[in-house]
Amino acid sequence: MNEMAQDGYVTEDGRTIGSVVLEMKNITLRFGGVTAIQDISFDIREGEIRAIIGPNGAGKSSMLNVINGFYTPQEGEIWFHGSRRPKMKPYEVARQGIARTFQNIALFKGMSTLDNIMTGRNTMMTSGLLAQALWFGKAEREEIRHRSQVEKIIDFLEIQHIRKTPVGKLPYGLQKRVELGRALAAEPKLLLLDEPMAGMNVEEKEDMSRFILDVNDEFGTTIALIEHDMGVVMDISDRVVVMDYGRKIGDGTPDEVRANPEVIDAYLGVSHD
C-alpha cells in the first residue's frame, strides 16, 4: 500500500482504489495578512476515503472551501479528472459532481427531512418554474423520478421515521444524517464532509462511521472528510493528510501518520528526542 502505483492501489480490506480524481498542487490561501493554507499539495484517488485532520485552526475547513470553490487560492492549481480547473463558483463545482456537508449544520430548519433532501437534487432539475408550479407533464415525471431517488437515500440512511418531521425538531445526530442525505441526493462523485462527527456521542459516531463506509462501498463515492477527532478517522480512512497552522505536516496511511513525530507533536505537544 506504500507504493502508490500510477493507477491506484488495493486497500487492506480489499477495495481497489483508482487513479487520481482531484489533485491540489502547491495551494496557498491568504486572508489579508493571515496565511490560512501554505503551499499544500495532495491528491485524492477514486473510491478512496481521504481524511484531512489537524488541530483547531489548522486550515482544514479552508481547504475544503477551496476544493468546493467557495474560496479561490492566491497560488496553486487544482486539477480535477486530469485537467486544470479554472476559477469556479460553488454551484459550478457542484455540477461537476462535488457535494458537501457543513460543520455547523446548514439545513432548512422549517422544512421536512424529505424536502431538505429533495433540495439536494436542485442542480439536476430541468423543468422551469412555471411547469413546476403547475406540476404538469414533464415537471410531474421529473419530480416523481427525483422523489424515488430521495426515497432510496432515506431508506439507505434509515431515516424513514422522520421523513415528514421538520428538521429543526430533530436531535443533532439525526440532523447530521439528513445533511449527509442532502449531499448524497446530488449523486456526487466526490463527497466532502466537514466534521461529520463533531459533537456526537460514541454511539452516534459509530453510526455515522458505518454510513460513511456504506456510502463509499455502495455507491463507490470518493470521500474527503475533515475531523479533529483522530480515533474515528484513523479507523475509516485509507489515507490521511495532517495539517497544522496551515502547513502540511504529514500524509500517508493511518499507521504512517500515527508514527510521524511531527504529528505527535502537533497533537500532544510533547517534545521527543
Binding site: D13, G14, R15, R147, S148, E151, K152, I154, D155, F156, E158, Q160, H161, R163, E203, E206, D214, D217, E218
Partner: protein
C-alpha cells in the same frame, strides 16, 4: 380430537393452506410492505410464486426434511415467506428474536442444530458469523438486504433473491421433489419451533405441530368470526408465538392480509395508514399511547382541552355500557354520538384504531383505567390468556363479557382446571408436542393425559366462570409472618401509575415487603419539563427528591388499596428505592418480552436488597451495564431509600393456603 381430513379438507399444513388461498383468494392482497415510502402489495397468487421459488432454491441448496432453518430479522414479508418455503420442503422454521445478542443466538442455533440461516440484513449476518465457529452445523446463510454485503465471502452465503432466481431456473429438476415433499406433510408433523423467552434459565424450544397451529387458528378465528377481509399489522417479534398465530396461522387459515411496517420506528405511522381490523398489543403499548395522547393534550389549546376532558368523562360513564350492549339512555347515546364525531373518532383514527373490530391484549395485567379508556372510545379491546406451549389460546373474553381483572373463559376446545396448589392447568388441540431435546422439562410440564402446567396461580370466579390470574405460581409465597405474598400483583398495581415503568417487590420469607422502582422517562421527563426541573441524565432525574416524593405517594396509594384486600394486605410495601438504571433485557434483568427475571435481579442487586432490609438511609452501588453492541460498562450511584406509610389492615389477614 377432530379428524383433520374432515376438519379442513386436506388442509393439514401451512403450505396446503397457501395452495388453497392461491386458488380461492388469488387476486386478494396477502402481504403489504412499505418500501421507499410507498405501500407495495402481493396477492396470494404472487406470494405462492415467491414461496415456491424460494422452496426450489432451498432444494437446490440441499435443504433436507427435518432440517432446522433459523429465521432472524424484523417483520418482513420475505422472512415470513422463507418460513413457509422451509415448511414446503419439509424443513422446520425456527424464528429467532432479532434483538438477541450473539451469545443468546449461539445457544439457540446450537441447540436446534440449525443448518440454514435466513437473516434480514448485515447486522444479523454479522451476529451469526460471530458465533458460526462455535455452532458447527451452519451450512449456508441467506440474507435479504444486500446493503454492506458486497465484501463478504459468498462461498456460504447468498441473497434470498439470488436463491429464488436459481430456484426458478432449476424448476425442471426440482418441481417433482417439491410437490412430493409438500404432499408428505402430515397433521402431526412439526410446523414450527419457537424458543420461549425463559424467565428462568435457558430458553426452551417448543415444538408445535401443524395440528397445534391450525386447530388453534381455526377455533380462535371462529371465536371472533375472523374472515378473509381482516387486515393486521405484523410488528411484534417473529419469534413470539403470538405473531406466528396472528400473522401466519390465522392469516393463512382465513386468507387475510398481513402488512409489515417500513421500519420499527415508523410503526405508529404505519398503523395509522393501514388501519387494521384485528389488532394485538401488549398492555404496555396501550399504556404508552395514552401517555402520548395526554402529553399532547397538555399542549393543546384551551377549547380542545375542555372538549377532550368533557367528552372523555362522558365516554368513561357510558362508553363501556354501550360496548357491552347494556341499556343506555337516549340523551347519553346522542351525546356519545356527538363525542364520537368530535373526539373519539379522531383519537381512534390517530391511534390507527379506526377500523379495529377486535383488539386483544395479553402477557401482563392491564391497568383497569387503561383498559376502560380504550373501551370507552368504542374499541373492542379484550384480554386473553395464553402461552407458547398452548399455541397462544387458553382463555379469552367473549364480546360483551369484558373486564379488566379477568382473562376470560376457556377458549373453544380448551379444557382448564385449577390444581390443588392453585396452579392453572389446561389441555387442548393446541397443546405443544414437546420441548426439543429436553424430555425432562417436557415430562415435568405436560403429564401423560396431556394436561399442561402453566406455572401461573389463579382461580375461577364462581358467578361468571371467568379465570383470574394472581401471579406466577412459583413466585407466590409467604412472608415470614405467614401472610400470602404475590409480588406481581403488587408490581402491577404500581405499574398502573404512568410514572412507574417497572417495579420489583421482595418479601418472600421476610418480615416485610420492599420494592425497587423504575421511573418512566417519558412521563417523569414530561413532568420535569412542565415544572422547569432540569436534569442531566436518567440517573439524576430518578434520584431527585421531588421524584421520590411522587413515588412515595404512589407506593402509599397502593398500600392503601392492598389494606382493603384481606388476602393480600400482608404485601404492603414498607421501604422502597428508585433504581439508577432502567431494567433491561440486554443486561439480563428482563426477558425479551420484558418480564422481570427475579432471581437475576436478586443476585445482581443483592447489596441494594440488603440495604432495604437493614434500615440504611442511603446506599452506594456500582452496576455493570451492557451496551447495544455488546460492550460492557458500569454505572455508579448513590441511592436514597424511603420508608413508606403502611396502612392498618381493614380486613383480617388470611393465612396463605398450603
Amino acid at each position: 380430537m377432530t379428524d383433520p381430513t374432515l376438519a379442513g379438507g386436506g388442509l393439514v399444513s401451512i403450505p396446503a393452506l397457501l395452495a388453497r388461498n392461491a386458488r380461492s383468494f388469488a387476486a386478494s392482497p396477502a402481504y403489504r410492505e412499505k418500501e421507499y415510502g410507498i405501500w407495495q402489495s402481493w396477492t396470494w397468487l404472487q406470494v405462492q410464486e415467491e414461496i415456491r421459488a424460494l422452496a426450489l432454491g432451498f432444494l437446490e441448496l440441499g435443504v433436507a426434511p427435518g432440517d432446522h432453518v433459523a429465521v432472524i430479522g424484523g417483520n418482513r414479508p420475505v422472512l415470513y415467506w422463507s418460513m413457509v418455503a422451509a415448511q414446503s420442503v419439509g424443513a422446520i422454521p425456527v424464528p429467532l428474536y432479532q434483538d438477541a445478542v450473539a451469545e443468546e443466538m449461539a445457544y439457540v442455533l446450537d441447540h436446534c442444530g440449525a443448518r440454514w440461516i435466513v437473516a434480514e440484513d448485515q447486522e444479523q449476518v454479522d451476529k451469526v458469523l460471530e458465533v458460526a465457529d462455535r455452532v458447527g452445523y451452519i451450512e449456508h446463510i441467506l440474507y435479504h438486504d444486500r446493503r454492506g454485503m458486497r465484501k463478504y465471502d459468498h462461498g456460504r452465503m447468498n441473497a434470498i433473491s439470488d436463491v429464488q432466481r436459481t430456484g426458478r431456473a432449476a424448476h425442471d429438476r426440482f418441481d417433482a421433489e417439491l410437490a412430493k415433499r409438500s404432499a408428505a406433510l402430515g397433521y402431526d408433523d412439526t410446523c414450527v419451533m419457537l424458543y420461549t423467552s425463559g424467565t428462568t434459565g435457558r430458553p426452551k424450544g417448543v415444538v408445535l405441530s401443524n395440528r397445534n397451529i391450525i386447530e388453534a387458528s381455526k377455533s380462535s378465528s371462529d371465536f371472533d368470526s375472523l374472515g378473509p377481509g381482516e387486515s393486521v399489522l405484523a410488528y411484534l417479534p417473529m419469534a413470539w408465538v403470538g405473531d406466528f398465530i396472528f400473522s401466519v396461522g390465522q392469516a393463512y387459515w382465513c386468507g387475510f392480509c398481513v402488512s409489515c411496517p417500513e421500519a420499527a420506528e415508523t410503526m405508529y405511522e404505519n398503523l395509522h395508514e393501514i388501519g387494521p381490523t384485528y389488532f394485538f398489543a401488549p398492555p404496555r403499548y396501550f399504556e404508552q399511547r395514552i401517555t402520548l395522547l395526554l402529553i399532547r393534550m397538555e399542549d393543546a389549546g384551551r377549547l380542545k382541552k375542555r372538549m377532550f376532558d368533557h367528552f372523555m368523562a362522558h365516554a368513561k360513564r357510558v362508553g363501556p355500557d354501550l360496548m357491552d350492549g347494556k341499556p343506555v339512555g337516549l340523551w347519553d347515546r346522542l351525546w356519545y354520538g356527538l363525542g364520537n364525531v368530535a373526539v373519539y373518532g379522531p383519537i381512534r383514527n390517530r391511534a390507527g384504531m379506526a377500523n379495529v373490530r377486535v383488539a386483544y391484549t395479553a402477557g401482563e395485567a392491564i391497568g383497569p383505567e387503561i383498559f376502560e379508556f380504550w373501551r370507552s372510545l368504542g374499541i373492542n379491546l379484550k384480554q386473553l390468556y395464553g402461552q407458547t406451549e398452548a399455541s397462544v389460546f387458553i382463555t379469552q373474553q367473549p364480546d360483551g363479557e369484558v373486564r379488566a381483572d379477568t382473562v376470560g373463559v376457556p377458549s373453544p376446545g380448551v379444557e382448564v382446571k385449577i390444581g390443588e396448589t392453585g396452579e392453572v392447568f389446561y389441555r387442548s388441540p393446541g397443546t405443544f408436542v414437546e420441548y426439543y431435546k429436553n424430555a425432562d422439562s417436557t415430562a415435568s410440564t405436560k403429564d401423560a393425559e396431556g394436561w399442561v402446567a402453566t406455572g401461573d396461580a389463579g382461580f375461577f370466579e364462581e358467578d361468571t366462570g371467568h379465570l383470574r390470574i394472581i401471579d406466577r405460581a412459583k413466585d407466590v409465597g409467604k412472608t415470614a409472618s405467614g401472610a400470602l405474598f404475590a409480588p406481581k400483583y403488587v408490581e402491577n398495581k404500581l405499574k398502573f401509575f404512568p410514572n412507574v415503568l417497572e417495579a420489583v417487590v421482595f418479601g418472600a420469607d421476610r418480615d416485610m415487603c420492599c420494592a425497587f422502582l423504575n421511573i418512566d422517562l417519558t412521563a417523569v421527563g414530561n413532568w420535569a419539563e412542565r415544572n422547569n426541573v432540569s436534569y442531566g441524565s436518567y440517573q439524576e432525574l430518578a434520584g431527585m427528591d421531588a421524584v421520590l416524593d411522587q413515588m412515595q405517594g404512589h407506593v402509599e396509594e397502593v398500600n392503601a388499596s392492598l389494606a382493603t384486600d384481606p388476602m393480600l394486605s400482608g404485601c404492603q410495601i414498607h421501604r422502597f428505592l428508585v433504581l439508577h438504571k432502567e431494567l433491561d433485557a440486554d443486561d439480563g434483568e428482563l426477558t425479551r418480552t420484558r418480564k422481570v427475571r427475579r432471581r437475576i435481579i436478586e443476585e445482581k442487586f443483592s447489596d441494594l436488597i440488603a440495604a432495604l432490609y437493614d434500615g440504611t438511609g442511603t446506599v452506594s452501588t456500582e452496576t455493570e451495564v451492557t451496551y447495544e453492541d455488546g460492550r460492557k460498562g458500569s454505572i455508579k450511584a448513590k441511592l436514597t431509600i424511603r420508608d413508606a406509610k403502611v396502612m392498618p389492615v381493614t380486613g383480617k389477614t388470611l393465612e396463605a393456603a398450603e
